[in-house]
Symmetry: D2
Subunit: 353 residues, 4 copies
């Protein structure tokens, strides 16, 4: 059962390979009457674009999104919204050498085992290029959430390799640097760390945190459609993600019950270790989620591998890659948070009116 | 949209409240011809039972499972398997005092906000008692996976409060102690930690790790039905879970790409930081997942809260509770791992034959 | 992919075999706060019960329904509602002779081909006994629809064998005879037709029509979740159904466009050939659906068949059967109509608020 | 909950409005390795194209389909297949007059009630143009079914207005006339009937029948995913469909049980009143389905209606329309039959291996 659809009631189906003619998505279930334009979506896409700084891939995609359906006279109609972006800067010849080689740490091996026949160019369907459509669909979800409920979503870089970047969280400064770093004080440290990595040909991991404010209480279906379970799935579905936390996350293992439980007064909660979710349902507190991204496996430092015939080969990845995929991951994490909340707003409305 | 069903093709729908007449589940999609008995399921249930040691809740449920359908002459027929367990040791009077009080850290507040009308006795639907049915359904999935593919699933306690318990991993000893601790050397330390906690009236968190061996390569749907995304959702849907890792998990943030990528030789992978999953698809290596459980919020140490009318109250939780829910979580984590793999075995079969 | 669940947001999952210990269902997605009792459900079940007259099967099931979950202090909580009915009058020995014989016109042959291993007693899972749970779940849907929107649902026998019974439609008289016949004038004709059939050992088909009044306009999702498409699926899923019509149905083939299109004035529609549905969406007019049921294949008149080894055999069906399944089908058609409308009420609420 | 996706495991999601920039679909779940080209799909599209004769709409769409993803080096990869067709001959100005008028018999009224904001040009999303993508996706399903199982699907016109056209069924002649009429002897009668209708400005209904041969036994999920229930839903989801029959269909009402039940011998079934489906599961006999299409409501003969403000208006539909939508419906019925069978082939494979 192939599964390129995300969401139950606000459903995004994405398609497209990195080096195919286009990528796109169909969004089904968007309420009618929302004002939306290709330009608004494009603004969000610019935030995750490659080539914004020397620290990310130099592939330059225009990412000009076309709305093929579902919007009439500037407003959604309730019918499926199809978005398409042409791939204009795909350099497939970079990949011919690698057609039969398995790149360790990539999906090459597993796609090969699963499908036998695959589009190997630029990772094909497993390319991070797919996340473009998450950000595009997320832009629509985000706008609806903001207009209807005042929900505000913001993500940031919390750690890059060994550098913690969330000692100071100044959300106003997040957009001022190419890292989405909330602490202006560590930006130069990040710059030099990345310069060094690039020189060495290696890569590093990152952690991204995101918060949603003004989330209505009552979102999330207890048991198997828990808001946190859906967030975990959403975040883990992002390329290179290896771990997800909600609220205190792994730190809760070391906490005492008296520390962790968030006491309540008539004026509200006294803390938020829960990350805004209790029993799988939003409490009205800030929803807080954190995601770990592994270091890119596409390196020019050679490594041992096999080809599709099982012979030993040496793999050196050329092409244009991000030495830290986490740098551009913030808008994707935000988008997935928006998509989950949007879906649950509709789900809540269905059952509880 | 209520969501009490887990899985796409091997689907478990659970029902029941902690203090209602019974809990149960319906499993739809189990292949025909599998030998299964109520007794085999019961054996798995005993592993998560309360009252096995002084360190867990003293509620004593017989957990006698009845198979109402889907099994004929000892073998599954391919029709829905309904399992029911009567609740026999529910002491609802323990809860009358708490009917209108919101217990911090519990789902009381959010259920109240979501549904208005709720069964407050023993947590009602949000009780960990629901996980009984996960273990029951998991027993069926597990048997099928073992018989058809030789898949072996084993979990263990990796950390309890501040005590790391996976320094030494001796899986043979996991079942020999009430903690599912793989290191016999730390069991007495766990005993005294728990005794102390019980005395103080406080609780602590835990981390559980589980592995699945002999998982066929090719399971998992790239993009939104990734094996790791489904595992993240499965694990985060367990009561009290706050974080999930696959493979290296959060540790990957500090790794270099040259460390993390698992090199391959004609004889196989040289390491397993990926946790057996690349691009959302199983590679044939061990699938490794880790889950954080928060400390129980049901404490006899008083805390601040409100009642359903918004008035300040003091809450003291009586009843019979686990001072560390993680102690009994190992069979549940294993069950969820089995259910996810089982579902993906069927999904893989559908599309790829 | 097994599929024992009906509905998207108001979801009923049924389980159980005709001669197993019990049949039941789980209803997920019922809004909280609805008053409902086992007795109310039981009243609906009595309408489809066997043994009410000499014209139906003489199997006597008490059909005492037990609510295992989801209802607290007389009202739904929004959590899954589990209903169970024990099978008390199953005479499995009637079937031992037929264990290896394929009964023509039944699901024996196809279950055998599909599953190999099957519960052959009384049709097992393919027994019409499964429809009991449709009526039970339908009772809940019906109550909600009536209370929230004033929707009224009523079905009737439109034809039995060669006898048209809807020349005169007096809905008040439908419950006054064992046939759900709306025309009191033809009841005695039905009686003698059935007596004759029973004597000859043969069976006949029937057509049931049902109407839903006060259906809000706007229900139904255009394209693939059309209200009429979902009705068609719902009706065709009933045992023995072979055809479904909405509004004018097959008669539209002979109509001119000027006849069929229902003209509109400021006071409303001038006719209702559409059956209350345009473009898959309810218009606010009466929703009208009609279903054909084939004659029962369980006959004591011998017929040619094979056994599971492919040998020629003669089949004579003993046991207690309905010589016209259509006689008891009216409450089932009504229930399916209620379930579809209920599901669409929630679906409409999700997207359109 | 919007619902523009058809199928469970072989899933087609369509998008696009009649007068928007393009229509398209995403097919998820197609097995990898199938050879397919845009040209093969185009050949199927030509069968349903407008403007092939004077008896259908004169809108001339090139229907040049573009494959945007999921096919690499001529074969499917198992990733989503996106198809797009630009709308090139949309004459939106034909519709400006009708923007605020409700056309009786169309979806105008119900879309208005449901969404408030709608693309009224050419029916927007409710246009039969959406069925283009069904035929396109159906072409892929059909090819897979033929190659893997030898399944052959063929539809024909069974009745047009008052003219029965299936007295003689010569399937070889179906493609030789613009009506898909299997009886060459009545073609001229159809020609003159249509000419007369066109002169009068009126329209008529039609009935289409389709058969699938060599369908493997065992397809279909009993209870709610019955093969016939899914066929009923598929057919009723086609624009203008009002009724669906399987096998004997409504004729079974008049049959005796001894007539209807299809006796079996070691050499096979002696008749096929069941239409190849017993208990919701295919028996290996021919699957036979029949669909009624209502007469087009777009007529130049004026009729009474209201505008969106509720005022009485007279409606005259200009634009280019089919006086009998059934004429072009055969390829659509075939496509839906192919899509249902394809989905069930995958579903069967999932559970039963």
């Amino acid at each position: 059962m192939s599964d390129n659809t995300f969401g139950r009631l606000f459903r995004m189906t994405t398609f497209g390979e990195s080096h195919g003619p286009a990528i796109g998505c169909v969004i089904d279930g968007c309420p009618p009457g929302l004002e939306i334009s290709a330009d608004e979506i494009h603004q969000e896409l610019l935030r995750r674009a490659t080539g914004k700084s020397r620290h990310t891939s130099q592939r330059k995609e225009k990412d000009e999104v076309q709305i093929l359906s579902g919007v009439f006279e500037g407003r959604t109609t309730g019918t499926p919204i199809a978005l398409v972006i042409e791939n204009t800067d795909a350099r497939s010849k970079d990949y011919t050498e690698i057609a039969e080689k398995i790149r360790p740490g990539h999906a090459d091996y597993t796609y090969w085992k699963k499908y036998s026949h695959r589009d190997y160019r630029g990772g094909g369907r497993s390319s991070a290029r797919e996340t473009t459509m998450r950000v595009a669909a997320g832009a629509i979800a985000r706008k609806y959430l903001r207009e209807q409920f005042g929900v505000e979503i913001q993500g940031w870089l919390a750690q890059l390799g060994p550098i913690r970047t969330d000692g100071v969280i100044n959300l106003d400064s997040v957009e001022d640097n190419p890292f989405f770093c909330p602490d202006p004080g560590v930006v130069s440290q990040l710059e030099s760390h990345m310069d060094q990595l690039r020189k060495s040909g290696d890569s590093c991991g990152a952690r991204i945190t995101a918060v949603a404010r003004n989330v209505p209480a009552g979102l999330g279906e207890p048991v198997y459609g828990k808001l946190d379970a859906d967030l975990a799935s959403a975040m883990m579905s992002i390329n290179a993600a290896k771990a997800v936390e909600v609220g205190a996350g792994f730190a809760c293992v070391d906490q005492l019950g008296t520390d962790h439980r968030d006491e309540i007064t008539p004026d509200g909660f006294l803390s938020n270790h829960a990350g805004g979710i209790l029993g799988g349902i939003s409490s009205g507190q800030d929803v807080l989620v954190s995601v770990a991204f592994k270091p890119t496996s596409s390196l020019r430092i050679p490594c041992k591998s096999v080809d599709i015939n099982g012979n030993a080969v040496e793999v050196v990845t050329k092409g244009r890659h991000d030495p830290c995929v986490g740098i551009r991951a913030t808008p994707i994490v935000e988008a997935m948070l928006a998509l989950v909340l949007m879906d649950h707003v509709l789900r809540q409305r269905a059952q509880n009116g």
